[in-house]
């Protein structure tokens, strides 16, 4: 049977099964941290590497898609699996990043409040496994099963500390939105199967739907996957759930799970719906850009480091989706090369974000362990106490800030290149509006640098804001290993972007029928050599070279004498740590400039009070504008409906009577 035909899928299934067994093994001795931490999680990391290799193998250009059918599932709809370039890319992402996170987690989880480590291990590996299955599922039912299993396992991981009400609330909101999104995806599949009653993706690729139905399917899918990805206005769960979860889980959710939503959108809009209307692209582009700007602006005013990262995830998802939107737009006008460029940009940013966002979340995890603090206002100066974490976090910070020569810059560069190609679009309004889009993109990128300076500066630099921080300790060996792995990923992808670019070639060829030009070993020149080129590795060489040379020269020609004294600070004699900018202070310009975006309530100290306190709370307008009214509306309806159950028997009989009469009239 097909088993033979699909070697790598078989291997993949074996790996997944391995994860499952690891998880179950955790249940043998749920409270034994040594077993779980020292044995199971590292093994899980190894399996992750295996998954990455399978993905890599699937990315080879000459590779055809593998298919496999399992004897499970619904009677007429057994589980179908399929491994093509797109799934391969995401497998690579999940495997590589997941491995790093698992290693870190091995050193992170410890017994104590909340779920037992063993159970945690089970949920964790089920989560990983379900994500892998999502990207190889090849029929609607299996996809949905894997998809919801993913949501469910992550929900249990989020609510590990279920005794804390906020965390319960976060988990509830998360699962609710995830579920509604899932139903919407399901309906989209219902449209896609086009009356063939076959829910395999193969069957869906076949029929070309009428534009109206196709639009319905696309929009439903966009809503469903957008809810998972955190597109505004479906983002509200994200800043609640990510901080609530243990840091490795936040890393998984932000780095891997959000990406499955990206995968879903790509699968539906480029594979199942093989043609699209141009305004879909415009819509996705607009939503993406707005989400990006929204996310980064809110990230800038956060005071909780994990919330800050969560909002920055929203931003990056926005950037990814703007890339996807551009790709759809270009495809609609049959500008294949540019579509390929935009798509590659989106994919590469997906990969990059997985690396640096997980890195940063894990770093916050170490900080959390070392200090027990999540509030930026109580951190600071940790670079001296925990150098390892600080240095590795710096890499992540620079990467996510989109600075050359790290990987974050590459994808933004590609995205801007794609934007620059938009004048080719034969649609006056669109290419009039695109410049604004490019502007928004640029603003977002610049703001993310602002956010990251705040993030890094307040946590690691300056003077410790609390005396307790002096006792902070650096991360353990396993944690370091995980961080190093991810940081290395950022550096390598920054130095050799063409690796990632070649990886996406197969995907874009399948999706839009073209791939970007590869350039040479050192250079990236996606469109044409003379037109735009970038070389990460040479930039590295250049900067390091110049720095080294300058350093040596300065030492040689002059001297390296250094005197340590108290900071000068314009001769201001007494300085306390409280004099440095707080997180709120650092966010102040943003509050000033984008004031209309927030709902701010502030407590300003009066000139007379002896112990002046300043408190500011930033709220999301969308929550108040959309979700609270929704909740209130449902409540009101529920109250109205409750009247029906009024408790009086005569009235109940009356209902029955009237129903009878009504039906009789109906049939009359």
């Amino acid at each position: 049977m097909e088993m033979v035909a699909a070697p790598s899928l078989t291997v993949l299934l074996a790996l997944v099964a391995g994860w499952m067994t690891l998880g179950l093994a955790g249940l043998i001795r749920p409270h034994h941290v040594g077993l779980v931490g020292r044995a199971l999680f590292p093994l899980g990391a190894l399996i992750g590497l295996g998954v990455a290799l399978v993905g890599l193998a699937a990315l080879r250009p000459d590779r055809l898609a593998e298919q496999l059918v399992l004897p499970l599932g619904l009677p007429d709809l057994p589980f179908h699996l399929r491994l093509d370039a797109l799934s391969g890319f995401f497998l690579l992402l999940q495997g590589a990043v997941g491995a790093g996170i698992s290693i870190f987690a091995a050193g992170y989880f410890r017994a104590g409040e909340g779920t037992a480590p063993g159970l945690l291990c089970l949920q964790y590996h089920v989560f990983l496994a379900s994500m892998v299955l999502v990207v190889v599922a090849d029929d609607a039912y299996f996809f949905m099963v894997a998809w919801e299993t993913m949501a469910l396992s992550s929900y249990f991981l989020v609510t590990t500390q279920h005794r804390i009400p906020e965390i319960r609330r976060a988990g509830f909101l998360y699962l609710l939105i995830a579920h509604v999104g899932a139903i919407s995806i399901l309906l989209s599949f219902g449209v896609l199967q086009g009356g063939s009653w076959k829910f395999t993706f193969d069957a869906m690729r076949g029929p070309t739907l009428s534009p109206a139905w196709a639009t319905v399917a696309f929009l439903l899918a966009l809503v469903g996957f957008g809810a998972k990805a955190g597109l505004v206005p479906l983002h509200v769960w994200l800043p609640e759930a990510h901080p609530a979860a243990p840091s490795p889980v936040s890393a998984l959710m932000s780095g891997l799970m959000l990406k499955t939503a990206v995968y879903g959108v790509l699968r539906v809009s480029f594979d199942l719906l093989h043609s699209g209307l141009w305004w879909w692209g415009a819509l996705v582009l607009a939503i993406g850009l707005f989400t990006g700007l929204f996310g980064v602006v809110f990230a800038a005013v956060q005071t909780d480091m994990k919330r800050l990262l969560a909002y920055s995830s929203i931003e990056n998802v926005g950037l990814i989706f703007s890339g996807i939107g551009l790709a759809i737009l270009f495809r609609a006008f049959d500008l294949r090369l540019f579509a390929a460029l935009a798509l590659s940009a989106a994919l590469i940013h997906t990969l990059n974000h997985a690396f640096f966002k997980s890195l940063l979340f894990l770093a916050t995890g170490s900080v959390l362990h070392a200090t027990g603090e999540r509030n930026l206002g109580k951190l600071g100066g940790l670079i001296r106490r925990m150098p390892w974490v600080a240095v590795l976090a710096l890499v992540g910070t620079l990467a996510i800030a989109g600075l050359p020569p790290l990987n974050g810059f590459v994808s933004e560069w590609l995205l801007l290149q794609a934007f620059l190609s938009t004048p080719r679009i034969p649609q006056p309004f669109v290419n009039m509006l695109i410049p604004l889009g490019a502007a928004a993109l640029a603003l977002t990128a610049a703001l993310s640098a602002y956010v990251m300076v705040k993030f890094y500066g307040v946590i690691f630099l300056g003077q410790p804001r609390e005396p307790a921080l002096m006792k902070a300790h650096d991360a353990g060996r396993l944690q370091r290993l995980g961080l190093v792995w991810l940081a290395a990923g950022c550096v390598v992808l920054g130095a050799f972007p063409q690796l990632a670019l070649t990886a996406t070639a197969g995907i874009t060829r399948a999706a839009v029928g073209d791939a970007v030009r590869m350039g040479s070993w050192a250079f990236v020149a996606p469109l044409a050599p003379g037109q735009a080129s970038y070389s990460g590795v040479l930039l590295w060489v250049g900067i390091l070279g110049v720095v080294a040379v300058t350093f040596v020269l300065v030492r040689r020609l002059y001297h390296g004498r250094v005197r340590r004294t108290a900071p000068w600070d314009c001769g201001d004699p007494w300085q306390t740590p409280r004099m440095q900018d707080t997180a709120e202070g650092f966010g102040q310009p943003i509050r000033h400039i984008f004031g209309s975006a927030f709902r701010i309530d502030r407590e300003l100290p009066s000139p007379w009070d002896s112990a002046p306190r300043y408190r500011v709370q930033i709220e999301d307008r969308i929550w108040r504008a959309l979700y609270l009214p929704l909740g209130r509306g449902v409540q009101r309806l529920a109250d109205a409906v409750a009247v029906i159950q009024g408790g009086r028997l005569a009235i109940y009989l009356l209902y029955a009577f009237l129903t009878l009469i009504a039906l009789l009239v109906f049939v009359l």
Binding site: Q417, M432, A438, A446, M452, Y534
Partner: protein, 316 residues
């Protein structure tokens, strides 16, 4: 590839490094003259640098390695930028390593590093300066990108050499969009290089300062590198302006040493003029309140976008 291009590259970098402080000096002179003060000598910045290099460095006791590394990074990025921007000739090997967008990225890297360094000591002034620098930065960077986009749309390329050659190539065409872009560019330049009306390079101990507040804790060779880097930054911006708006006179790919000489002369003339103009602008304009800065830069940003729209509308 042969050694010749590398030599040319090196020569150009050295030229930039040596001219940058002089350019600062020249602006100072012009300002002095415009304000009827006796001008400092042209070489003053060079002297300052030399003096600073010889001094003993003083560091705050809890300064982290990042703090000590930053000046070198700043200097490195700026030198690299100088290597990318075509100041004299367009056929530079390194120019292909990073295009204009990457150049903006480089500037951003420098900005981030200096801000981090400023926060490292954890003094009131440092963090305040860092915050303001980043604010100006995130407003200026998009504007700068938009300015570039104008040129990109005309030349259909983001690689500076191609841009320059396309713009400089005869016949001479007037691009109305570039007019908008030019104004925007000047505004960005002022903001990015801590000039009036955003920042005042001449002041200290003032709650309004930005750049100076960040480098307060630096001394001796570190300070020297920082200052030199900022001089280079200004120089780079100036050269960028030349490349985009008055690209004439640069030596193109296939031109002999004669052309190079012409180019150098042209560069000097341009620098002279630019310095004078800068000085004039700085003299006539008063320092803005820090929260006027967003408006100022938003204006620049909008001008640039307007330029884009004009270009798309007129197709030129």
């Amino acid at each position: 590839m042969t050694a010749a291009p590398l030599v040319r590259q090196a020569a150009e970098v050295v030229l930039a490094m040596s001219l940058a402080p002089l350019f600062i000096g020249w602006i100072a002179q012009c300002r002095a003259w415009l304000q009827n003060r006796s001008a400092p000598p042209l070489l003053q910045p060079w002297r300052t640098l030399r003096k600073l290099f010889w001094k003993d460095a003083t560091l705050a006791e809890h300064a982290s390695p990042l703090f000590r590394l930053t000046p070198y990074v700043l200097f490195g990025t700026m030198v690299l930028a100088a290597a990318i921007i075509p100041t004299v000739a367009t056929n530079l090997p390194f120019a292909w390593v990073a295009d204009a967008i990457a150049l903006v990225g480089l500037f951003a890297t420098a900005r981030v590093f200096i801000s981090l360094a400023a926060m490292d000591i954890g003094t009131a002034f440092g963090t305040l300066g860092a915050r303001r620098e980043m604010m100006v930065g995130f407003l200026a960077e998009p504007a700068l990108l938009m300015v570039f986009f104008n040129a990109f749309l005309i030349s259909g390329s983001t690689a500076l050499p191609s841009v320059v050659e396309r713009l400089a190539a005869p016949p001479f065409i007037i691009y109305p969009s570039l007019a908008f872009a030019g104004v925007a560019f000047v505004m960005v330049l002022l903001a990015e290089n801590a000039r009036l009306p955003i920042d005042n390079p001449a002041t200290h101990l003032e709650l309004t300062m930005i750049h100076e507040a960040m480098v307060l804790e630096y001394s001796a060779r570190h300070l020297a590198l920082v200052e030199w880097a900022s001089a280079l930054k200004l120089f780079n911006y100036a050269c960028l302006g030349f490349a985009l708006f008055v690209p004439w006179g640069l030596a193109s790919r296939d031109s002999g040493p004669g052309a190079v000489l012409v180019a150098v002369v042209a560069l000097l003339l341009k620098l002279g003029a630019a310095g004078a103009v800068l000085a004039l602008v700085e003299t006539v304009s008063a320092k803005l309140r820090i929260f006027r800065a967003p408006e100022f830069l938003a204006m620049a940003f909008l001008l640039a976008v307007l330029g884009l729209l004009v270009h798309l509308l007129l197709g030129a």
